[in-house]
């Protein structure tokens, strides 16, 4: 074969493959353009993946009074079943006894105000810790989803697409913070969305809105000064299970070492 023929055929091959690729790619590319809220990247969630905002929350552990208003408000706002056990956010009561044993109780529904589990004489220290989805920058739940139904938005919020979720519970197992549950009505995985429908309208998440002691602080980690950024500057900040490299976006101030 002549060199000229060889080059000609190579060129032709490249042209044809390009044309075929263009034909397939056209639809997808056209669809991508108008989608302003397109989630950044299929890998689901490097922190700061191109949005104007990067939402986060801080918890002032010392201010929480364990009243359960946040739990109640979250259930009302997001249509979570009212019974205990199902919850997007909950409050844990940690009680360290004088013999250094630990008792942890969860408040997972409104009015489930449990009394102290041990005699007051036996308590060394006791406190409440509000918990919710940590909206990790590297979320294990997103990695394991077999159908790609859960992902990080460009604002760093991990949400579940309930029309694609098949209810296989892998994500519930994978979450190191126990922040997911299977909704008994829809049979799909459900979790905190930072009240995405509220924060995108400029409102606060329901739990932050109703917290009577401002134990929860919500804000933008990007750009302008916000109460959250001030809180991060001024306080000693810790995250839950930092060793897992999930990079949570829920920050705890003055967190006790016994909190898991």
């Amino acid at each position: 074969m002549q060199r000229r023929d060889f080059l000609k055929e190579c060129g032709l091959f490249l042209l044809v493959t390009k044309a075929v690729e263009g034909l397939f790619g056209a639809g997808a590319a056209a669809a991508e353009e108008p989608a302003g809220t397109k989630a950044g990247g299929g890998s689901g969630g490097e922190s700061g993946n191109g949005g104007d905002h990067l939402y986060g929350m801080a918890i002032d552990v010392d201010k929480c009074i364990g009243c359960g208003r946040c739990v109640e408000a979250c259930k009302t706002e997001n249509g979570v079943p009212k019974e205990p056990f199902f919850c997007r956010t909950w409050v844990e009561r940690y009680t360290v006894k004088t013999d250094n044993t630990l008792v942890v109780q969860s408040i997972t529904s409104a009015g489930q105000k449990s009394d102290a589990p041990v005699e007051e004489k036996e308590i060394k220290r006791s406190f409440f810790v509000p918990k919710l989805c940590n909206h990790c920058a590297h979320p294990p739940c997103v990695q394991v989803c077999p159908v790609g139904a859960t992902f990080s938005t460009k604002e760093g919020v991990v949400i579940v697409d309930e029309e694609r979720c098949i209810g296989c519970r892998y994500c519930i197992q994978a979450c190191p913070y126990g922040a997911r549950y299977l909704n008994p009505e829809t049979h799909t995985a459900d979790k905190c969305t930072f009240c995405y429908h509220r924060v995108t309208k400029g409102m606060l998440p329901a739990c932050v809105e109703v917290c009577p002691t401002q134990a929860r602080i919500f804000g933008d980690l990007k750009g302008k000064a916000s109460p959250l950024q001030r809180f991060e500057r001024m306080r000693k900040i810790h995250t839950l299970k930092p060793g897992l490299n999930t990079e949570p976006k829920v920050f705890y101030a003055d967190l006790d070492g016994v909190v898991r």
Partner: protein, 250 residues
């Protein structure tokens, strides 16, 4: 370099037919892939943006405190100066968005807690609550009355209990302060002369002496609504009231 003559192309009939079938299949694939399958099945970013839009469109239930100030100026103004200034209206009144959208509809009337067990959800004593947060023991804190009978919920303060006598009678004052008799003046039951202040033992205050004195509030059929009633004619007639009930914390 000399040209090597290529052999004449001789494609067998069956290969040509196979070729036609292959071309038809490939064409069919392209048609189906391009036009028949809707784009959101092919593109995950489209799936995600749809899910995001669905999430955004969910209804709001808690209106946010700013919405209340437009109509309820008095209450909001009072609240801004009180100890509950950092509370959102929704903390106690619940989800208010429906009320904001249609305030005149009675069905959307906000919840106004008046029960005695509402405030203790935050203010009952609990060893896990932070030191300094105001807490009470609901079992002994001025029982039988809803909290709002002494505390204004929008600007809560300890109620104005009579202070005159507490300089000397502090223990009695403290006991009475959290009892059902908290709001009664000492002079309701004790007549005290001015000289008592200078010569306490020389001019002692009076004390009730009869069952009928307590009966002015507590006897059946008397006007005072908040006082629990007994029938003086039948209720433990042998005894005086204070033989069983300590008047400063009955």
């Amino acid at each position: 370099m000399s040209e090597i003559p290529s052999p004449p192309s001789r494609i067998p009939e069956q290969v040509r037919r196979l070729g036609v079938v292959a071309v038809l299949m490939a064409g069919g694939f392209i048609v189906v892939r391009t036009w028949a399958i809707s784009p959101e099945y092919k593109d995950t970013s489209l799936q995600k943006s749809e899910a995001v839009e669905r999430e955004k469109a969910k209804p709001v239930h808690y209106a946010g405190a700013a919405a209340c100030t437009e109509c309820h100026e008095d209450q909001c103004g009072e609240q801004q100066l009180g100890k509950h200034r950092n509370l959102s209206c929704g903390t106690c009144h619940g989800a208010l968005q429906k009320h904001v959208d249609d305030p005149l509809n009675e069905a959307n009337r906000p919840y106004a807690p008046r029960e005695r067990d509402f405030c203790p959800q935050c203010h009952a004593y609990d060893p896990a609550r932070p030191t300094g947060f105001p807490q009470i023991n609901p079992a002994i804190h001025n029982p039988l009355k809803p909290c709002i009978s002494c505390h204004k919920p929008h600007a809560p303060e300890p109620p104005e209990t009579p202070q005159e006598c507490s300089a000397c009678h502090a223990e009695i004052a403290r006991t009475k302060m959290v009892s059902p008799h908290a709001l009664l003046e000492c002079t309701t039951c004790h007549t005290t002369l001015e000289e008592h202040k200078t010569t306490p033992r020389g001019a002692k205050p009076s004390r009730p002496t009869t069952r009928e004195f307590c009966g002015t509030c507590h006897n059946k059929g008397t006007a005072e609504k908040s006082a629990p009633k007994v029938d003086l004619a039948t209720h433990e007639v042998k005894y005086l009231c204070w033989q069983c009930h300590y008047p400063h914390s009955p």
